[in-house]
């Protein structure tokens, strides 16, 4: 086998096991992180309940999906969950607004310390966590239907004649496409509409925004709606891509926070960047590169071990390390966000 085939094989290997998973996982993190960063920037606290909000939105989607499926509503090769998504977003946004009115608005009126909000969000986290488990149980749920693969590993091998296969799941493409659409819509909203501009102004300087007649309650309301919508979208995409398990969403909190802080608090673009950085580092650091080296390096240089920096169980450590490094070296984040 000549060297260029080896090169191609190595490239396909990395694309299949690192690049594609990083892009889809990164998009999911990015959507979550944008929500966190908006709440962080406008309400000025770290919302510990964000992961549970994602779980709640996904759960609602699953219920509606089941209902549609029982009525025989399918949309061809695409997952039915996509039809259910708008309804779930609506419900989750309603829930977020209700939570804000009943829990957080009191502290806003009384100008409580940020840390009080965080403690309150811990209470909300408990409630949502219990609610999700009560409604759907703790079992793993797979609600993906439609076509699973766009490119199958076997077909790819046959087509190209390479020894490495490339599999592209439909959910991975969907994740990326939907994330791009959501982010474009968000940026259009923030840059072009009055409310979006008011939100940015409020995030930059609250007092000045109030002086210029911006209605803070409206800004907060819109923030929650956007955060809940993105959380639902992120949760559903994650659930479609892997599977839905209530406990997993709590553990997504740390990489999401890391992404938001890495990108710079209050900077949606930064949060997206942060999401991809965190996802890429997590997957790269826990991928076993042995096969990759086997293709590229001369035979006697191939490492004995798996050539894996960290075992997969230490994913947390990667997002945490990134978080700490950023906080120590450049606390404003990559895009110069606010330092809280």
């Amino acid at each position: 086998m000549d060297y260029s085939t080896d090169m191609l094989n190595a490239l396909v290997l990395i694309t299949n096991y690192v690049l594609i998973p990083s892009i889809s996982y990164g998009s999911q993190l990015a959507l979550g992180a944008v929500g966190v960063t908006l709440v962080f920037g406008i309400l000025r606290f770290a919302n510990f309940a964000h992961g549970e909000m994602m779980a709640f939105g996904t759960m609602v989607t699953i219920f509606i999906t089941w209902w549609f499926q029982s009525m025989g509503v399918y949309i061809g090769a695409l997952p039915t969950a996509l039809v259910a998504l708008p309804f779930a977003i609506l419900l989750t946004a309603l829930l977020a607004v209700a939570i804000d009115k009943s829990v957080f608005s009191f502290y806003r009126i009384h100008k409580s310390k940020p840390v009080t909000f965080v403690v309150a969000s811990v209470g909300v986290m408990f409630m949502l966590n219990g609610l999700v488990r009560i409604l759907i149980g703790t079992d793993e749920r797979i609600f993906r239907d439609g076509q699973k693969f766009l490119i199958k590993a076997g077909a790819f091998k046959k087509m190209t004649g390479l020894s490495e296969g490339l599999a592209l799941k439909q959910t991975q493409v969907l994740t990326f496409v939907l994330a791009v659409i959501a982010v474009l819509a968000l940026f259009w909203f923030l840059q072009r509409t009055r409310t979006g501009k008011a939100m940015r102004a409020f995030s930059d300087n609250e007092d000045l925004a109030l002086l210029s007649g911006i209605n803070p309650e409206r800004v907060v309301l819109v923030t929650w709606i956007i955060a809940a919508s993105l959380a639902t979208l992120a949760g559903v995409l994650y659930g479609l891509d892997k599977s839905f398990k209530p406990m997993v969403y709590f553990h997504l909190l740390l990489p999401i926070f890391a992404a938001a802080i890495v990108g710079g608090i209050g900077q949606p673009l930064g949060a997206i960047l942060g999401g991809y950085i965190v996802a890429f580092s997590e997957i790269t650091a826990t991928y076993a590169f042995k096969k990759f080296f086997k293709y590229l390096a001369p035979d006697n240089f191939v490492p004995d071990g798996l050539a894996q920096l960290l075992t997969t169980e230490y994913k947390f450590a990667v997002s945490f390390l990134i978080l700490v490094l950023v906080l120590l070296v450049r606390p404003t984040g990559i895009l110069r966000g606010r330092v809280l």
Binding site: F40, V124, F250, F316, L327
Partner: protein, 454 residues
């Protein structure tokens, strides 16, 4: 109402509740709840030092608990000499080279001026250190884990009495807190919370995966006990006589049948063992409460509160905020570490998989907040109430669900689902209690009391 009155009333109600469980369910259950209430009280006193005294949002309570538990294993388990002989030296080399790498890295950081040169040298030091460690680590761990993997497969401990680990657990947790403090203190509260949450998650993944240290998810069971075993009790003369006397049959003319007698024996043995633990735990709670109250009322405590209430003013008065924070963070974590070791002692086993943030971090938060931040007695009553609700919510909601049978069929899918998920009601209940207390009574059940000499 004065704080004293509130305290007397709330503790009496709590005693009554536990007594109701004792008479209604069983004394074994009541004492099991009581013991865990006491352990939770130690944890929440530790967190209260950090949050109530100093206003630090520590979302990594679990890390201190877990390292306390690990210490209990490492102190009490008998050393596995075979594992030491095959892999001990490699592990020692790894630890030494880790320390050397860190020292070298820090030296480079301090001695060489900032710039590209420094970055390259640090990268090189870390890389060389990593490869070196990795080599010995893989050798050592695979050798250790191959030693009777079904029974040991880890280095074991020191084989000392487990009570000693309560102190050592505190020291270990303090050491870890020092390290965490070096990294995370000085950040704003939200960042600090996120950073500590992250560290605690990493700590648990280490405990789950480093089999040579703690057997990982294979768990360490059969830890030594500081109190007698039930089986031993049931065979000892004095215990049998005591139970007979208690049931009014000391003269030998037993009015009870032998079956009832055996049951009474088993019940009493369980109760006596739990009471022994209770005595030990109450002692720890009282000692820590004594120290904590004295500290809070001392000039040191006033300084801490001053820092909490106004950092800028306190630092203008010449107080070093970060190092005071570090100090109270370390002390609080040490107390939590003691509780962690106590918990593992009570369980008799160490199960890394059981450490989850909701139970070991955020539940402790609920305890401190509803008890009254800044009030030590409040933390204790808070942990009693919270733990009681946490445990009793399950039987109560199952009972409630089973009483729904007049509307739902016993075998209907909804009924089955409800029965399955009823235990999760406690999560909702906890969140609700936390939110309500925070909203309507933010000072908690026993509010923090400003000392008279203000």
């Amino acid at each position: 109402m004065s704080n004293k009155g509130r305290a007397v009333i709330s503790f009496s109600i709590m005693a009554l509740m536990i007594a109701i469980v004792g008479f209604g369910q069983s004394w074994n259950v009541a004492l099991a709840i009581f013991n865990l209430c006491l352990i939770s009280a130690v944890m929440s006193m530790g967190l209260n030092m950090q949050w109530g005294y100093a206003g630090l949002f520590n979302a990594g309570v679990m890390a201190s608990t877990a390292i306390g538990g690990l210490t209990a294993v490492l102190i009490s388990y008998s050393p596995v000499s075979k594992a030491w002989s095959v892999g001990g030296s490699s592990i020692l080399i790894v630890i030494i080279s880790l320390l050397l790498t860190i020292t070298a890295g820090l030296l480079v950081w301090k001695k060489i001026p900032k710039g590209r040169k420094r970055s390259w040298i640090i990268t090189a030091v870390v890389l060389i250190g990593y490869l070196f460690m990795r080599f010995f680590y893989e050798q050592g761990t695979s050798a250790i884990e191959a030693v009777e993997p079904a029974k040991t497969g880890f280095l074991g401990g020191l084989g000392l009495p487990i009570l000693f680990s309560w102190l050592a657990g505190g020291v270990a947790a303090a050491g870890l807190a020092w390290l965490i403090g070096r990294i995370a203190l000085g950040l704003r509260s939200d960042y600090f919370a996120i950073a500590t949450l992250g560290i605690s998650e990493i700590m648990i993944s280490i405990l789950k995966n480093e089999d040579w240290l703690s057997r990982g998810v294979k768990n360490v069971t059969g830890l030594k006990r500081p109190v007698p075993y039930e089986v031993e009790l049931q065979q000892s003369e004095w215990f049998i006589n005591m139970v007979k006397w208690f049931y009014g049959t000391s003269d030998g003319s037993s009015t009870l049948s032998s079956d009832t007698m055996r049951e009474a024996m088993q019940l009493s043995a369980g109760v006596v063992v739990k009471l022994c633990y209770s005595v030990l735990f109450v002692a720890v709670v009282l000692i820590i409460l004594g120290f904590a109250t004295r500290a809070l009322n001392s000039p040191w405590g006033r300084m801490m509160r001053a820092i909490r209430d106004n950092e800028t003013a306190a630092s203008a008065m010449g107080k070093d905020i970060t190092s005071r924070h570090r100090q109270v963070f370390i002390i609080g974590s040490a107390v939590i570490g003691i509780a962690g070791a106590m918990l593992t002692t009570l369980d008799g086993q160490f199960t890394p998989g059981s450490y989850i943030p909701l139970r070991f971090t955020f539940l402790i938060w609920v305890m401190v907040i509803i008890g009254g931040s800044g009030n030590n007695l409040g933390s204790i009553i808070g942990s009693f109430i919270t733990w009681f609700v946490w445990i009793e919510a399950e039987p109560v909601s199952i009972w409630l669900v089973s009483n729904l049978d007049f509307v739902l069929e016993e075998t209907s899918p909804l009924m089955l689902h409800l029965q399955e998920v009823a235990p999760h009601m406690r999560m909702v209940l906890m969140g609700l209690i936390l939110v309500l207390v925070l909203r309507f009574s933010p000072k908690g059940i026993l509010p923090e009391k400003a000392p008279d000499h203000y």
